[in-house]
Symmetry: C2
Subunit: 341 residues, 2 copies
């Protein structure tokens, strides 16, 4: 496995690692302001971490980073108070309780994304520290940082893997946003003299494809053409696309996965038109199959308004499932992020 | 066939007949202002008629009405000049030329919609007038008005037909807007004690579903839930829909048809999930199959901006085919408007 540093042949996308701890502040990229502004939000505690997740200021991989590092914020705050009060190791139980409370708060932030799996890891490390008679305050941050470093390395490995799948002349359809990896792989492919073109769906209702994917691909100097979500069938049937590649928010033991609403229909269409369908997954055995994934239904106001202006008038109701679940039978190849693999 | 008057058991939708001649002005419903405003644009000549079509102020059936009645405007203007100049029947050739020029200008307004078939009818009637030694100035308007009256009657017949297809408890998915017929059929069905619910796709990039369909269904007191175009696969796979019904902009001899972009993928998904797919067609034998339909590709700025605000930043290119073509194999039943049938 590669170390977590960005190799010289890849240019980093801001979306690849959108939340970083500096001192006692977690700087979280505000993805809702992209492409107009590249601005970071200061997150100082768990409450603020839950807010940026719930308001979708950060999403996908960014959520994972915020959750992991929210524990660091809590541990830092705890340590500061401990110093002030000159408390000793006797406060281990208090810190453990605080970590458990933090986990519970983060778990409730949004459904669909497997927060409890991530927070469960951290609670497990805290428990391990107690069992081994280690100081939670140093043991857990070391584990968190080591884990993040490992993930960064594996994500970079996957960028190389994706670039190896790309062939010169490919026209790749993608949906929503894959948090930097696709753009970095396309950049890398070009270093290898492989020119690839992307179709990005705009990805209503949040326009992640228009705002994030098109933006980061252009930043990397990669050709990208934006289409309405409605044009997927058209470009596939016209033979304008030869690969589909998407990310996933949650994967199951049997290969089913959840991703941004619209992914399921793209997978059906890819099969209909014989275009290979690739998905980047974070394998998990916690959930057996797609029917066990809880799908978040978000407030329909997010569908009925745009830039604070109502699209509809009067009392029209909306239904906004934020994700859908793709059965594994529609997947040509899952490109897993093998954490501890 | 029913006469063109609206029967007492149906409430008329403004979208059912969105362009009416009063004196020498054609009042065209500005569909881009709906649902905020119900406002009509004054169209006085062919140039203005082409403008409202090209700018999509009117669309679908409205385009047909504007094209037909643009000839009436030209004939009225011609008649006025003839009176002023006290010209006689010798000017028949001039009026015929003017009708041919009007047809040519209208034909160039937008691709995909079969303008030349509509304008060809009028040119044919002008030719018939000459052959029969009739005055074009009275003969052609009589034919145009008779034809419009016939179409109105047939559309009303179809409203009854659609209502007969609706069953109590139906949940019907529709896309874009079907110019009043669906809403009026739903109203009629309710008079018949059949309650139906609609899912309307928002229909990017113009939001016709959000702005027109949801609005007119609500106006009729019909239950409607708006979804993102991305949620079609989700609601179909979850069994929330038991019929799909859409309109068409152009139909072929073999049953293929063109409609608003996104219709093709909905048809594929309906088949995948075994939901019957209905289409309202205007049969035409002018075009053999779908591959002969020219698909309009519109300016991608219409995709990249919303309410004059850019969704993307920088030089992102867009691809905006305005229609797609659905192969007849995906159609469960075509409900034809049998003009002269």
């Amino acid at each position: 496995m590669r170390e977590g540093r960005i190799p010289a042949d890849i240019k980093q996308s801001p979306l690849f690692w959108p939340a970083r701890l500096r001192g006692d502040v977690l700087w979280v990229l505000d993805e809702t302001l992209i492409p107009q502004k590249l601005r970071y939000i200061k997150v100082r505690d768990t409450r603020q971490a839950v807010m940026v997740i719930r308001q979708m200021k950060t999403r996908a991989f960014g959520q994972f980073l915020v959750v992991m590092q929210a524990f660091l914020l809590e541990i830092i705050a705890f340590g500061r108070r401990r110093e002030e009060k000159q408390e000793g190791r006797s406060s281990q139980k208090d810190l453990f309780n605080r970590i458990e409370k933090t986990a519970a708060a983060l778990n409730k932030s949004r459904p669909t994304f497997p927060f409890e799996e991530v927070t469960g890891l951290v609670v497990g490390w805290a428990r391990e520290a107690i069992q081994r008679n280690q100081d939670i305050q140093t043991f857990v941050p070391r584990r968190i940082n080591g884990y993040l470093e490992e993930i960064r390395g594996r994500r970079l490995d996957r960028v190389y893997k994706i670039a190896s799948i790309f062939e010169d002349g490919d026209s790749i359809l993608t949906h929503c946003n894959v948090s930097g990896e696709l753009a970095m792989a396309a950049y890398l492919a070009r270093q290898q003299n492989k020119h690839v073109h992307f179709f990005a769906t705009e990805t209503r209702p949040y326009f992640q494809g228009a705002k994030l994917t098109a933006w980061e691909l252009r930043r990397m100097g990669v050709d990208v053409t934006l289409i309405a979500d409605n044009a997927v069938g058209s470009v596939l049937s016209d033979g304008l696309v030869n690969k589909v590649m998407v990310g996933s928010d949650r994967s199951c033991a049997n290969g089913d996965f959840a991703n941004k609403i619209g992914t399921y229909q793209i997978a059906v269409l890819a099969q209909e038109f014989n275009v290979p369908f690739y998905v980047l997954t974070q394998p998990s055995n916690k959930i057996k199959s797609g029917k066990d994934i809880p799908v978040e239904v978000r407030n329909s106001q997010e569908l009925l308004t745009y830039l604070n202006r109502k699209i509809v008038s009067g009392v029209v109701s909306g239904f906004y499932p934020a994700f859908d679940v793709v059965p594994h039978g529609l997947v040509t190849e899952a490109i897993a992020l093998d954490v501890r693999g």
